[in-house]
Symmetry: C2
Subunit: 341 residues, 2 copies
């Protein structure tokens, strides 16, 4: 039979109240007594029944997700996952609220974060945009004792408790590796399309990409990055223009969103002339393009994992646990047409 608090009390020769004090870190227990209880706990192999504890506590955690109201598939995916978490939240004694903010707007984000403080939620997760206002707002949250996690896009050098997202530098390196190898020894140019170099994720991906290109694939000539603001129409235009101007483009790395436009442009190219293409995020568009051989590989970060990881970390923080880094690392998934999930 699983040992309970009663067993500990009996085994340690103390009362239930003392066991409770030890278990929940309440004051008023002499050092020796505390040790005796801890001894009993470990020798009996007691583990707190989390279900019963939560039931008794009756406390529900309240978290706020601040998300950009940005309509690319990936962000929609993130929102969907948060909603899914909300619908599960009843069973998990968690209350989650979504606050939407305009994308890429540091001031608006900071404003939203500041408005959250008076509500005193237990934790906040948000997609970071760089800016001193954001740093200040984050500090305000921490001062109020609120756990903070950045999601998808990080805010390095800040006091966030955790970043739930991928290592974008590594993602860029991976893309370069794939693209370099898939082009198979041929010489030629590589085009890179980004959303905006103002966004940290994109900058980091580009850095990693260029680093590996330089190290391992000097035969390939990487064109200056083209920014298309994650806009499908603009992306289509930019890609078409580049392919028209440089017929020797043999590889394409799309490190942002707007893939719909890119796919559209690629479809215009004769099959034999198509470059090798690596893109980010497995969405309806990229999935179809993979199946059609318009895209050769897709790097993906699992939105569900990110959201659930963020919630787990927030809960852990509130309960005073530390993050197990290895467990919360978000993987960079590689999908070819054959291993699409």
């Amino acid at each position: 039979m699983k040992p309970t608090v009663y067993d500990i009390a009996r085994s340690a020769g103390v009362s239930l109240a003392t066991v409770d004090r030890v278990l929940n870190g309440r004051p008023g227990v002499r050092h020796v007594t505390r040790e005796r209880v801890e001894q009993a706990i470990s020798s009996l192999g007691y583990v707190r029944d989390v279900a019963a504890a939560n039931l008794a506590k009756g406390r529900t955690y309240s978290f706020v997700f601040v998300l950009p109201n940005y309509d690319n598939s990936f962000m929609i995916g993130i929102r969907d996952e948060v909603h899914a978490a909300i619908s599960r939240s009843g069973a998990e004694r968690t209350q989650i609220r979504i606050v939407e903010v305009p994308p890429f707007d540091a001031a608006a984000l900071a404003d939203a974060l500041n408005h959250i403080v008076p509500d005193r939620p237990d934790g906040v997760a948000f997609v970071a945009v760089e800016g001193h206002e954001v740093h200040a707002a984050l500090a305000g949250l921490k001062d109020a004792g609120i756990a903070v996690v950045t999601l998808v896009s990080d805010l390095p050098g800040s006091e966030r408790d955790h970043f739930a997202g991928i290592d974008n530098h590594a993602a860029g390196r991976t893309a370069a590796n794939l693209l370099g190898r898939f082009t198979g020894g041929r010489d030629g140019r590589i085009a890179v399309i980004a959303g905006s170099m103002l966004v940290r994720d994109h900058r980091e991906r580009l850095e990693g990409f260029l680093a590996v290109m330089g190290e391992s694939f000097a035969r390939l000539d990487v064109l200056p990055v083209m920014e298309a603001r994650d806009n499908p129409a603009l992306t289509a235009e930019v890609v078409s223009a580049a392919l028209g101007r440089y017929p020797d483009i043999i590889g394409l790395y799309s490190l942002g969103a707007g893939n719909r436009g890119m796919v559209h442009a690629l479809r215009e190219v004769a099959r034999e002339a198509r470059p090798v293409v690596v893109a980010h995020e497995l969405t309806g568009t990229t999935r179809a393009a993979l199946a059609e051989d318009l895209i050769d590989a897709v790097l993906n970060q699992d939105a569900g994992h990110e959201v659930r990881s963020a919630i787990r970390v927030l809960k852990g923080k509130v309960e005073g646990l530390s993050v197990i880094a290895a467990q919360e690392r978000i993987r960079i998934d590689i999908f070819l047409k054959d291993n699409m999930p």
Copy 2:
């Protein structure tokens, strides 16, 4: 505030006992009354507090994992994950036991399964080996009302409730795709090393591999598969011999275990002469080999995911829920040196 059973009773104008009868499918409720209660449940948006329910039930699920006592890194990983689950199991009202059996031995496996029946656990997970005895034993388990999940290796055509493992056919296809592209247009031979063609996983991987090789990379000449019984020493020998005999081997697919031996053999080859290598399972060996550029890509199935998925499915089965296939699909991970976790 979250509605409770009391709220339902009040809202439906019935007693708590009646609500309980409806919620738990107990008999003795008139149809009209039952409908009234269900109406109240859905209009209040009641969701059962699982924690409280489990606490009240006090029931613990008992599962048995039947695993081959086979000492390759992957199986060790699986065992470790089961042990990890066991150490967590206290908190999750689950009791998990491991039974070890000799590998690739249908009779021994069947025997072990038969011996489990009298214990009447709620569920059993096992790594399938093909054989009519196994089918019979599985039927015995099902007859006893025990939920059954196959792990890593499936037993198609049987009555198992679920298979927690990857699509090995797709894995083989993925390997071929990577190998074909990584060899970059060059002609040459491809060597394939398997553990044993008697194991379904390996057969399926090979099938998928050969299919894509035939479809898309006819320029590559795939040598007859070499079986090395997942034995490192034998693998080293076989690989060395093949590389010596056919200097034009430009690609190597290791679809089983024994990678330590393969890496050993590869280390002997001059850097420029090394073939492109795709292997399975991210272990200490393959991880190091990836970092050293001895292996170019590793396909991986996450042992932790598989074990946890198996447990989730078993629990779900016991509680009478159906499996959400999409949620339990185990992914084929691709790792290059840049995106190793």
